[in-house]
Symmetry: C2
Subunit: 270 residues, 2 copies
């Protein structure tokens, strides 16, 4: 029977989820996960405690409860329930208070709200990424923080969106197409912003696999075409001294982290 | 002088960033934050320790270091440096081992990789959200997990993308435009998928502000027009019994968490 795990928060529960997931991924155990956001009053606490009790009855094991509930009274209610509670933030608050010489001022749901400038930045960046996706428009590249370039389906669009949503970075992206491949050179729209260019490359086998999911049996998806395009583009990146990353075995999170590290672009934190 | 803080990881450092940010946001202190991903060998550790030392010299205060470095040898090197180290995962590993009755098997960078099915789901969902943004295409709504509806600029697009990127949820979105406003009713493309509809509403003042940033002085951005549209759409949601949320004071993270809670849609976790 899978062990049941609850991620509980008085806010979005994103912090609890991310942290709990990282922690549990270290264990060779199957978990069934439940996320309970906005638990900020007694009625909500009762509702979640009932679910936890039912999990206990169903599985015969006390559910694990990772929480970031700020209200000490509500927190105490959880401790009396059937779950095994891990209060993930408070553990570090006391040593940090000592270190910083100030008292914490916990507020509900502060971590993923829209109170600060960074939030505005992020939404602006999402709008920018949408409007400047796939090379459709090139005239706003002077506003870009970065321009991702590469062959079709190498990961440019999801990475642009991730950089925008998570870090408020304005990322345009531009694809090289089949027609560009004879004597591939940097289009003038890109040449003007060469210091902003960042290349993504991908292994031809993986590219062919991805393209075949969308356009099975086409020349576009053929291994031959994928080999040609990936080779041409990588040679061009080398010749033009454009920094680039192979995305084949990387998630968008990893690609983004590499890009930020390589470019030194500033994160606009939420 | 701002206290310097380092988020260090052998992976993307996303877990460390999210956790550290949530923790630090409880303190009425200004921090200068540095993120150091992919610190998985001695050379990388030395590089980061040098930066930490320079921070110590510049600020006169020992930097805070939040890390999730798995390799015990590398971890020991950090402990000998000039930072004050908080090993955020290990703190919980021992009690969890006792509770689960199994030893942890920490692996580097496991939390934000692309090893599982959920990753594929997420990228598929991003492609879906892009292709089905802004009501341009309605014929793929049978594939949608959810269809967000509302007036132009109420938050549909960023929310669709967030649901896709973070949770692998296929979210289409459909805008009601000025032309729809006389005798507003549900278009037939939406009627066929009524159980998937979720409305977003927004206060007219805030809507006018957002629209004025994009199209200053237009009728589209006028408070009068914004009042008309928001009122019409909310009445329609009520008449048609479509669940809806006011986004005015909510971030995309909060909107998404509310939607998941209201609809019970399943998260495809990374």
């Amino acid at each position: 029977m899978e062990r049941h795990v609850y991620f509980v928060s008085d806010g979005t529960a994103i912090t609890t989820e991310v942290f709990g997931h990282a922690l549990l991924s270290q264990f060779p155990v199957k978990f069934k996960q439940f996320t309970e956001p906005f638990v900020d009053n007694e009625r909500q606490v009762s509702r979640v405690l009932d679910k936890i009790s039912r999990s206990f009855i169903t599985t015969g094991q006390r559910p694990l409860v990772f929480h970031t509930v700020v209200d000490t009274r509500l927190r105490a209610l959880f401790d009396e329930g059937d779950g095994i509670c891990y209060d993930i933030l408070s553990t570090f608050v006391t040593p940090l208070e000592a270190q910083l010489g100030v008292k914490a001022e916990p507020k509900i749901g502060r971590s993923h709200g829209m109170m600060d400038d960074a939030y505005h930045h992020r939404i602006e960046a999402v709008n920018y990424a949408m409007a400047n996706d796939d090379g459709a428009v090139t005239k706003y590249y002077s506003d870009a923080d970065i321009i991702l370039i590469g062959v079709s389906r190498c990961g440019k669009t999801p990475t642009s969106l991730y950089l925008a949503l998570q870090y408020g970075i304005k990322a345009a992206n531009y694809p090289f197409t089949e027609e560009d491949m004879d004597h591939l050179k940097l289009p003038s729209a890109l040449k003007d912003h060469k210091h902003k260019l960042y290349g993504l490359v991908i292994d031809p086998d993986r590219l062919a696999q991805i393209r075949n999911e969308r356009a099975p049996g086409t020349r576009y998806a053929s291994l031959r075409q994928c080999r040609l395009e990936t080779k041409e583009v990588e040679l061009m990146f080398q010749k033009e001294r454009i920094p680039y990353l192979n995305t084949t075995r990387h998630s968008v999170e990893e690609i983004s982290a590499h890009i930020l590290q390589d470019t030194g672009l500033e994160r606009h934190k939420y």
